[in-house]
């Protein structure tokens, strides 16, 4: 196959970091497929190469072996059709929130005019609940609010792929749940394909259409789970039987990945 019908596809990606103690393999024939406009969450034990994955998909790094495809194109360098957000919101302290959100527009060639982009920035800020904060400095905002602003910045240029590297990891539980709902609102407002790296299994089930569990290092896709929660998800859905069962399976898979237990199907254990 020389092309990919998926929005994001990783094909047998193998990667190692060169360290003083010799090569440190992090990914071993990792394959993931993410269809257009679908949401994929990647979970796995600490240090299993989840962040490496984001750098490979965004083109910041190239894999030793294997291929990364984005929108039927082989990824060889960063592409402006990608949006990124990290655990650290990395807002530029010397700019207002609005100027921060508009930052990608200064880099990416876009059909949007400056006025249109500003209009869009205000709409996005309204959508994530930052109405009235456009002219504030990042230092005047709380952690959760900064992360909201960072999300707006990651999609201002209408990327077709959004890569989120634990964006809610440093937030308190309630703020995090708020932001999960914000993510659903954003996706409803305009669809995009999303790759989310997270440590939080509830987050992965609540947000994603597909959860990939990575094995311990060097990592491959140990388990792929399709999340089918019908209709518009609410936080209450997380306490439904369906969701609890899925969480149990994921929990078990993580333990397998950590090498704490052998891989027996969840049903067999019951």
């Amino acid at each position: 196959m020389t092309t990919s019908s998926h929005m994001i596809e990783l094909r047998d990606v193998t990667h190692a970091y060169r360290t003083k103690a010799g090569p440190l393999p992090v990914l071993d024939r990792l394959s993931i497929q993410i269809p257009e406009n679908s949401f994929c969450a990647v979970v796995g034990p600490s240090g299993c190469g989840k962040s490496t994955l984001t750098r490979l998909v965004s083109g910041l790094m190239r894999p030793d072996q294997g291929e990364v495809w984005l929108h039927s194109k082989l990824v060889t360098s960063p592409r402006p059709t990608v949006g990124m957000a990290f655990q650290n919101p990395v807002l530029l302290e010397w700019r207002s929130i609005l100027e921060n959100v508009l930052l990608p527009m200064e880099i990416v060639k876009s059909p949007m005019s400056k006025a249109e982009a500003t209009e869009r920035a205000h709409q996005l800020l309204d959508l994530v609940g930052l109405t009235g904060f456009a002219d504030k400095r990042p230092s005047e905002l709380s952690g959760g609010m900064r992360q909201r602003a960072s999300l707006c910045r990651s999609i201002i240029h209408k990327p077709d792929v959004l890569i989120l590297d634990e964006p809610f990891g440093a937030l308190d539980a309630f703020t995090r749940e708020d932001l999960w709902c914000t993510m659903h609102d954003l996706r409803e407002a305009e669809p995009f394909t999303c790759l989310l790296i997270t440590h939080d299994l509830r987050e992965s089930v609540f947000l994603a259409d597909q959860v990939v569990v990575m094995s311990g290092r060097p990592a491959h896709a140990q388990h792929v789970m399709n999340v089918d929660l019908s209709g518009k998800r609410t936080l209450e859905d997380l306490y439904s039987k369906n969701a609890v069962d899925m969480l149990a399976i994921l929990r078990h898979q993580i333990q397998v990945a950590q090498g704490r237990t052998v891989d027996t199907p969840a049903e067999a254990r019951a």
Binding site: F86, L92, W94, L103
Partner: protein, 255 residues
């Protein structure tokens, strides 16, 4: 208390208090002016030599600013090279530290011989040499400690290194840069005076200080020290003023 009022009133009160104590201490201990001149001894000197004070201050000031300007350009360049290239940083660091460790008073006679008669150039050179180190170090630290996420946020959009420098690295380093500039401005001032006093050539406040010494006019020497302090304060607050304009965002409001 009103904010502006306090900013003017507090230093005025403190300066007045210190001067009053000084005056009292000299009077109380009955010290002769060659041991310790009192503030009231200085006023006649300023009145008598006001034109000299103006001319000499200007000579000291412009040469200090020129040396500092060179230090900013050169220090920033070296800092950029060291900040972006680990190889260059590891290679240049010991050289810079060694250079900085040389007492500049020992360099003055060497420079004076090297460029005989080029007094302004020599003075600027010493002011520059003594003050570029903190700038180079702070710029290099500012650039090399830039969190990778900051770089990635632009790199993932396909931005070039030049764009990343102008949009992120440079503005993010400005608070460190101004911190170093505040140190450098005082150092440059010391450099200028060092040249004026160690290698006298009839220019600057250092020369006026020297005249005081030669003619045994001790209050004049003290008067020069005060003029130097005043110039230093002016230069320092000019840097603070620039900092407010270019890096005011780094200052947190107290509440």
């Amino acid at each position: 208390m009103n904010d502006t009022l306090r900013k003017i009133l507090a230093p005025t009160l403190f300066i007045a208090g210190i001067l009053a104590f000084w005056e009292w201490a000299v009077w109380y201990n009955n010290l002769p002016d060659y041991r310790m001149a009192s503030p009231s001894d200085l006023i006649p000197r300023y009145i008598r030599f006001w034109d000299l004070f103006l001319i000499k201050s200007w000579e000291t000031l412009w040469r200090t600013v020129a040396g500092l300007g060179l230090a900013v350009v050169f220090g920033t360049l070296v800092g950029m090279i060291m900040g972006f290239s680990r190889f260059a940083r590891e290679g240049l660091y010991p050289i810079l530290v060694g250079f900085n460790a040389i007492p500049k008073a020992t360099v003055v006679p060497i420079v004076a011989l090297m460029f005989v008669g080029q007094h302004d150039f020599n003075t600027i050179l010493i002011a520059f040499m003594i003050s570029f180190f903190p700038i180079a170090v702070s710029v290099s630290i500012g650039l090399s400690t830039l969190e990778p996420e900051y770089r990635d946020i632009l790199r993932s959009l396909g931005a070039s290194n030049v764009t990343i420098f102008w949009k992120i690295a440079l503005p993010k380093t400005l608070p460190e840069f101004f911190g170093a500039l505040k140190v450098a401005v005082t150092l440059a001032f010391i450099g200028t005076n060092l040249m004026e006093i160690v290698s006298p050539h009839g220019r600057g406040l250092g020369d006026l200080f020297d005249s005081g010494r030669i003619s045994a006019d001790y209050p004049l020497m003290f008067a020069v020290l005060f003029a130097l302090a005043a110039l230093g304060i002016v230069l320092f607050y000019f840097v603070v003023f620039l900092e407010r304009i270019f890096a005011g965002w780094a200052e947190r409001s107290p509440n």
